[in-house]
Symmetry: C2
Subunit: 567 residues, 2 copies
């Protein structure tokens, strides 16, 4: 391809409203253009990359035996009412009415539609397991779209849905998708990590996210330095620092005026923070619950929601906390709370001995409390926020922190949708059984931005070879003046193109500096420079994108040399 | 591929609400499933065909030098307000509001968006000509979606837009698209015809439609039997039967009571219909106009709108006609009409001599009128509806009628959008000039249905090879019982698949009758049957879809024989 036939639309200026490097570089490299907030056109150069990602995803999904289909983007409200999500899905769901005033949405995801297809088409256990997928434009009406295609409203997604007769078949299908995803991100040439994650509003219990690693990533990942454990911080586990076990001492109620913070309480009582068990009151689906964690720990709300089986969770206001417990803020303790209140204690806080906690009256705290002796141990759960440096689970060393961009998420949904929508098959004994479902998403357009966040330098993008829009760029120095250079450049272009190399010849009448800068900006992995001076010596200049130095190649046999290099 | 891995979802029953054969067969063959009115899921089997069509379209667009991009499906109202179409586009435009109450639409077409991109990215004549295209899901909120994907609300379209500095460059770009479209439909293996057509609401003057020929087609095409003239009936031209020329006689006003129809007038005056010039009053953009055509002709409203330069046209009501002309219905004639009224006469009616027409008073008609002698000849235009059997234009013999399904439409838009949206480039003398535009659409998903309308029989679909979802199907008779048959079938499948043949092995535990019926229904071009009886003789049975009889192939060397057949 020649630049004269494939215009680049590059810019020197960094666009003012682009906050992250991938957004800046995609605009500067002419990959995308903004139409409106969160709506982007993929220009020809950007689309080449998007299609490469799409192709790898499709090939690996097919290889895993998934069946591609395409469902409508516009979905009738009725199906979402059946699943219950019409009410619960927030304003991110773009709702619309057709000319007959019937309600629809522009689908952000397709659980309802595929479940509807499955209940019509799948009648018998003999038809299972099956996995349907599509690669499709979705819409999510983000309140503040930002970061270009990283968090756009309209985006390209691969979504897959599998159907099974049993949990074990679901687990197998889920594992097959885990392996397919691993192959996909390997083939894309990206450094990535799969981590345990929360299922969020999609539902189900088991899920795993795939993150492209990049310092600029929005998510923190904690991973074991001696093992394969890795999790999103929102869900990561650690036993935390060991709390020293003490021989029991007599419990005592103390006057503790003005100690409505854990720090004040520790100071006054001269106790380390880990001998305090502190309370946090939350509203879980609008019902109050009291959670206890160690004084030096922080409550992880995502874990709390899971432990409480709640869809929504938030911290209670002071008023809500006081009206639920009857105790002023700062003095809530496990002894003597109202019976009807749901109470949980974190696993680490459950190991505390001779601990201090609120006495459930103003300005009074207990010291030397011991679980079971003084107060029944409430239901125990993992509630604490894990931190880098703490022990990893299962003795896998320590947790290390890294940052990632979520580009894939696989879920075991179980029977949430099939039960709500009555999607059943006849089992071997002839009885109707709701199907088990898995769902598996990849943010195809987001991968392009994530790849840039991971692979760039001051000059521009550095494409991993598998998704580079072109493999090699040829720059002719003074092509307009020197017939020899022009012929050499054209001939090299034609020969490499005939050999199947995706090649771009910069045949513009532009200064070499402009061509060099654009080649760096658009990130083509391999660059060849042809000029009269080199040709005099029978040489061409070659440089890999990101390499420190150029090297000389013999003009004789250069096609073979370059075919070797490009691979 | 094996049916066990690629389930077919075929049905025997003809679905009740499917009116046309392509819709019936696509449902029965498991190609599509309805989600809601005008919204269809493309099931795996259907998607294979859709992708084949898409690939041919993409390859030929690329070959023609067009640049693929992808614009957002959701478009801001502001751009449509700029072009003026927000007001004029009817309820087929699916309008919606985002969470911030900003107005958008789900794009049925992308003239506005591409013009916005062009005015930002194209600055100089040196960047032109350029042609951008996309293959994208569109939405048109049809009032009564029907015929399956033939007239769906959500559909897949290829839309291309070219930009030029001059009309002649536009004409060249248009011609290149004409040739690309011709190649596309040739490569798809469809019988088709390109015809002159009306530009409709898209705008522009020159346009041409591409029709897949099928008896069930909604459009009538008139084409010359001795030449390449072809046009949609809505625009077809013919001089019509010659009107005999008479020597002038004296004009006379006659009493003609109760002759407010042409037939009554002809009877009373004992004149042939072609010696009557009749009036039709129309409302063109809400302004009345009087059009005269020969008594045996019918007015073509599309031509009338073009001749009058009107966007909207309809027949006037009796009240409107009388108030515009001051003459009761049935007695309007060209002599003495109000000065301010726009009056046109059809080319054929303009050749009439000694003709009768209304006297512009009740129950009175003129006879023996002659243009110019008695009444000035009004503006002449082609206004009559051409019919099959009439002379073709330019002496190309006669017009023949055939029916077609519109699958492509190319337009010279001129500067309609670039002027409205101020999309200019600097010309060679450094002045801003609005660009000339062309636009070029192909209904990708509709092609699939049109191909079936053209190619089917009682048993099912007969795919043209280029878009067949599979090239060859293998049916094993008694594969579950006979190990020899199973092995032969599997081995043939594996060898042909390895040779690159798209092959489907029906490995279901089903009766042969079911497999034969499904193979016919889904329309695979080539079928091989393997059974014990044949193998005893060292033979396989081969039949091309649609062929009368099967033939025997030697089992030895069958892979090569089949590779020859499949091509």
């Amino acid at each position: 391809m020649r630049v004269s036939q494939f215009p680049l639309f590059t810019h020197k200026e960094v666009p003012a409203d682009a906050e992250i490097v991938s957004h800046q570089l995609m605009l500067r490299a002419g990959m995308i253009r903004k139409l409106a907030s969160g709506l982007y056109t993929w220009m020809p150069f950007g689309l080449r990359v998007l299609r490469k990602v799409e192709t790898v995803v499709r090939e690996e999904m097919n290889r895993a035996g998934a069946l591609e289909l395409i469902m409508p983007a516009v979905q009738p409200a009725e199906l979402w009412q059946e699943s219950g999500r019409w009410k619960h899905y927030g304003p991110e769901l773009l709702r619309l009415k057709d000319r007959h005033e019937r309600e629809f949405c522009f689908g952000p995801t397709h659980e309802e539609v595929i479940t509807d297809i499955a209940r019509r088409e799948l009648k018998s256990y003999r038809q299972l397991p099956v996995n349907f997928y599509q690669i499709q434009t979705k819409f999510r009406d983000e309140i503040r779209p930002r970061f270009g295609v990283m968090r756009a409203r309209e985006f390209l997604m691969k979504d897959a849905y599998s159907f099974h007769t049993s949990e074990s078949s679901l687990a197998e299908g889920y594992q097959a998708m885990f392996e397919a995803y691993t192959r996909i991100f390997q083939r894309l040439g990206l450094r990535f990590r799969s981590v345990e994650a929360d299922s969020g509003s999609i539902g189900g219990s088991v899920s795993r996210e795939f993150h492209v690693l990049a310092d600029s990533g929005e998510d923190e990942i904690l991973s074991a330095d001696q093992g394969d454990y890795a999790a999103n911080t929102e869900l990561a586990s650690s036993p935390g620092p060991t709390i020293e076990k003490q021989s029991p001492q007599a419990a005592e109620k103390r006057d503790t005026p003005d100690t409505d913070t854990v720090e004040a309480q520790a100071r006054l009582l001269a106790l380390p923070l880990d001998r305090i068990v502190k309370s946090v009151v939350v509203m879980a689906d609008d019902t109050p619950a009291v959670l206890f964690v160690a004084g030096d720990d922080e409550l992880n709300l995502v874990k709390a929601a899971r432990a409480l089986g709640a869809e929504d969770i938030r911290l209670a206001t002071t008023g809500e906390a006081e009206s639920a417990t009857g105790v002023p803020k700062g003095f809530i303790g496990p002894m003597g709370l109202p019976e009807e209140l749901r109470v949980l204690v974190d696993e680490r806080a459950a190991t505390a001995t001779n601990f201090s906690s609120g006495a459930n009256e103003k300005d009074r705290h207990w010291i030397n409390l011991n679980w079971d002796r003084d107060v029944a141990l409430p239901e125990v759960a993992d509630l604490r926020l894990a931190r880098a440096g703490e022990p990893a689970p299962e003795g896998q060393g320590k947790l290390c922190s890294s940052r990632g961009i979520e580009v894939g998420h696989i879920f075991q949904l179980g029977r949430k949708y099939s039960e709500a929508m009555n999607a059943t098959v006849l089992d071997e004994s002839g009885r109707d059984q709701p199907m088990y479902m898995g769902c598996y998403g990849i943010g195809v357009s987001r991968i392009v931005a994530a790849a840039i966040e991971q692979n760039h330098d001051e000059q521009g993008i550095i494409w991993p070879a598998p998704i580079a829009p072109f493999q090699l760029v040829i720059i002719g120095i003074g092509m307009d003046r020197s017939e020899r250079v022009r012929q050499a450049a054209e001939s090299l272009h034609d020969q490499l193109e005939a050999a199947g190399v995706e090649i771009l010849l910069d045949d513009r009448d532009a200064r070499p500096g402009v061509k060099f800068a654009d080649a760096e900006l658009i990130g083509i992995p391999h660059r060849v420079v042809i000029g009269d001076r080199g040709l005099d010596k029978g040489k061409l200049e070659y440089r890999a994108r990101g390499a420190e130095k150029s090297e000389e190649l013999d003009y004789d046999g250069v096609v073979d040399s370059l075919l070797d290099i490009v691979g």
